[in-house]
Symmetry: D2
Subunit: 340 residues, 4 copies
Amino acid sequence: MLYFSCDYAEGCHPKVLEALTRTNMVSTPGYGEDRYCESAKEKIRESINCPEADIYFLVGGTQTNQTVIDSMLSNYDGVVAAATGHVAVHEAGAIEYSGHKVITVPGHAGKIDPRELRQMLVDHYADESSEHMVNPGMVYISYPTEYGTLYSKEELEAIGAICNEYNIPLFIDGARLAYGLAAADDLTLEDIAKLADVFYIGGTKVGALFGEAVVFTKNNTPKHMITQIKQHGALLAKGRLLGVQFDALFTDNLYMEMGKHAVSCANTIRKELVNKGYQIYMENPTNQIFVVMENDKLDTLSKEVLYGFWEKYDDTHTVIRIATSWATTEASVEALKKIL
Amino acid sequence: MLYFSCDYAEGCHPKVLEALTRTNMVSTPGYGEDRYCESAKEKIRESINCPEADIYFLVGGTQTNQTVIDSMLSNYDGVVAAATGHVAVHEAGAIEYSGHKVITVPGHAGKIDPRELRQMLVDHYADESSEHMVNPGMVYISYPTEYGTLYSKEELEAIGAICNEYNIPLFIDGARLAYGLAAADDLTLEDIAKLADVFYIGGTKVGALFGEAVVFTKNNTPKHMITQIKQHGALLAKGRLLGVQFDALFTDNLYMEMGKHAVSCANTIRKELVNKGYQIYMENPTNQIFVVMENDKLDTLSKEVLYGFWEKYDDTHTVIRIATSWATTEASVEALKKIL
Amino acid sequence: MLYFSCDYAEGCHPKVLEALTRTNMVSTPGYGEDRYCESAKEKIRESINCPEADIYFLVGGTQTNQTVIDSMLSNYDGVVAAATGHVAVHEAGAIEYSGHKVITVPGHAGKIDPRELRQMLVDHYADESSEHMVNPGMVYISYPTEYGTLYSKEELEAIGAICNEYNIPLFIDGARLAYGLAAADDLTLEDIAKLADVFYIGGTKVGALFGEAVVFTKNNTPKHMITQIKQHGALLAKGRLLGVQFDALFTDNLYMEMGKHAVSCANTIRKELVNKGYQIYMENPTNQIFVVMENDKLDTLSKEVLYGFWEKYDDTHTVIRIATSWATTEASVEALKKIL
Amino acid sequence: MLYFSCDYAEGCHPKVLEALTRTNMVSTPGYGEDRYCESAKEKIRESINCPEADIYFLVGGTQTNQTVIDSMLSNYDGVVAAATGHVAVHEAGAIEYSGHKVITVPGHAGKIDPRELRQMLVDHYADESSEHMVNPGMVYISYPTEYGTLYSKEELEAIGAICNEYNIPLFIDGARLAYGLAAADDLTLEDIAKLADVFYIGGTKVGALFGEAVVFTKNNTPKHMITQIKQHGALLAKGRLLGVQFDALFTDNLYMEMGKHAVSCANTIRKELVNKGYQIYMENPTNQIFVVMENDKLDTLSKEVLYGFWEKYDDTHTVIRIATSWATTEASVEALKKIL
């Protein structure tokens, strides 16, 4: 069976596993106060050219979004997100559970439109009832988005400028950051760190067993951050596991290399799909392909390939998601090509 | 340096690591819907002789306590715990963050006294103002306690009977369950499952990289449990990692064997301490030793041994904690004995 | 100055004030356990022909929405509301603060479309990821809506049937209930009680100093409701004040009479507006009139009339709200007519 | 029947009722943006000699405690209170519902001991695990306490100095403030305003229908306070009702006069009790008397007097509470004296 249904189907990259194995019986202090975490943080700081970056390692994406958003917002604040954003739809109300509204703006292929964002803020503060409404206290975007699309540098700068003007932080969810940067023309990890007030580097979907590295870039870490992480049930006892993994991910450019590999595999598949006349449903340059399939074809495909069901297209067609990852092999890509 | 300061200082037991390595590149569905989780659950069900047990794997202890307590309580409920209980003291307010009060009763070497528990409940319901007070909606105990002490079977039965009488669930925090059961005269894992309405089998401190197995034993799983776990940021994307680990822990009795090993090491050290005339501060039969040390002696000890500072005893003495674990070697025990 | 800007600008109806004055120095138990509350409840039960109705008096609308919604939902639930609903927009995040998402469906002049509601529920449960999403656990509608519009009996029955089918309660926010019922062709208070699983009878905007009567109609009161009300800071010490007021409101049909009066005043104004060629912005039959005004005209109007700014219509026109209430006098209506 | 069971059994002082009646049909803006609120605030500012005081009117005590504490604390903070404090015991978990732990220190006749408070803080910050614990972020005391006792000025200064040293606000719950100040030797309302960072002046128990005036004294109002009040369901639509009442309470010294009256009545009763040889259970100088009664005597008393049951003393005696208030008449005091 060929596995293309998601990018978190395997364990971790062999180099990460090797690092975990090598350090397995070393005794360290708990809760991230170990040398591996220190080393990983230092490597990340170097890779973003931001010596003052303050970094925390958490376990998963929803947990990270909840903890970052709740720790940065005041009681009266909500977080602005695309209506299709992960925090708005697929986190089981984790943000609301922490007391905050997700204020939605329209999603355009997963992206916020800077002009619509600005208009929403202008309207909010012009509203006579604004004190009876949730205050927009942060902007959340994902890069790449849940639809695999990317903001251009210009778009990110426009959103960042609006956030600056309104003095609210910009939070970039980088659950698939490597897959975005590998496909970006004009944007580097360093740029992300400059543009965001806080962002996270996703490990779970890019080569780690688990783990997300939250980076506060503007000397803006919330107070008592460890306490807040603990309060959210997000402080890993053996924090060193996160350090060891991110240390490996940021050694010899592994994190970025994995991104390139997955995107390259995706592009090969995309090309084949286009050549064979399939209709791409949602254009995007990253590791997720959304394609329209005849249902008959799907019946055949299902016997050999695991893909993601996305949505019904019409009575005879379905949109499916094909996801590549660091773990995708060239052999499986070739095999898929033959089946398509 | 000899490491005796805690029981979560290393990675995982070699057999667990072997299982993770062996399965690393296998593709599975996410969120715990994989064969490894199924297998691990089946082994746990067998080991507790409870075919109807419903099992969920979470990542860490505070997260587990928060999720279990919040999912089982109604809005108006609080959880009753010893004043020294982990949920009352060392979880950064994770329970209150989820909206629930920790109602404390005195801790006696970490343990709740069944008579005091009953009296608290009697007094609560007799109070004319009880509707203006938080309702006691669950009893939380840890086995072993934070002080390494154990409830006898009789004590647990007494607490369980009170819970039954008041129709509130008994939740047993088994973060160090193996270390408790290994030291217990009269209690088995099966007994724990019979006595508790919900309990968890701690992996983080007993041979896993991380992971706690929550067991609902009475067909009493809260509705939409997966949604609730997700909402608490506690649903691991690669849930299979928990399945693989618990599968290994419950193969060939590994979990219990590790418990025995740690307790045996602790007993060897205890004997040496007593022989050398040290004062045991808090008697307990499990893997944690609380001992009074002269400060001068500690200065020497510190050069070769990492131990846990517990509290000041008097101007010239200190209480320290020596913790053994599955990872403690006989060599290190011998080395420690020489230094003491 | 003529006051038409809102329906909560004065104190209370003279008969309510008389009742408060008459009972002022009577000593009663606190927290609503007094004879006035009992009497008011009994009168409400009679007026809805529902002897088993369980009734609680709260102070204000947002508080009532928060308390009812939070007490009826489970952790994993959100409340479905029109995107324009009060709970979605103008309660400062009170629902999210209590941990629950407001799941929005489109508002059509403030109303939910039963077909769109059904489709949303169908889609939710058909979604493979539904366990990662907030569960729709209640439907909230307002009658009349925030735009003064009314659901027909047929529409309410359709929504009620969907709620029954999905086994989720229907909650009707009746902040302006009297103004709705006075304008309804086909609907009575008894009908509201039959259709809703829980609803509230608004006092604040209809003749009381403050107060909303929450009615659970289906033997479905959440457990420990007094504790939950207290927990939300919503239990009035001198609960008798609510009983005295609602007793007066439900004596000699006062509540309904006030509704008729306000609607009659509104209709007189509406007629005048139409006669004079003004454009009604949002047609509705209740006590709120949304009308388009030339800005020049507004400049004049502002000198003699207080009205509500609603929104900019175009560069030379503005939408304003004219609200009548139980306190509107015929003299002020006549005066307004002359100015228009 | 003589009513001595609590101090919130009647409506409001005749002068307050007169003010409500006089202003009843005046139209004002909602939500406290009216001239009566402004006037009341100004009078309070004058009475505390603190022109920069920022004042908000809320409806009830638990609501006020919840809103003030939640708005002033950060996520990671808890509030320190006596174990017997209202927020710790009798608010149905309203503080925990808002996400914060009530950190208890021993209550001594309802009072915090400054030395124990300091020790708790010293111990907290000295604890190696303090980042895993709830941060003490505010000190809450009640004046008078739930037991009618009073802090001396010296004690309050000592607590205030500790709060300053640790940079945490001191919050004084003045639900019965007038009854405390009337009995104090050495403390004025102005002193309270100087000592507290935030306090509230209780109206519900001292002559108002309802209402508590929250006073921020140090230019320390939390941001978006109106939004936060709304979010807690605590923003009264007809806010003018609070303004009208507090304006009356702070006209011609009415608030303080009511305090003196109630204390004077209590002292008369106290003297009679002592003369007749009754045992005072908890000495205090304010409007609540805690006295030990023979059960036989109580049987007789119950026929003519409503008192508060406090607790069982022994098999033949009971502790009861006799509360006087602004509404207590000299006639009822004389009548009670005869019955005792």
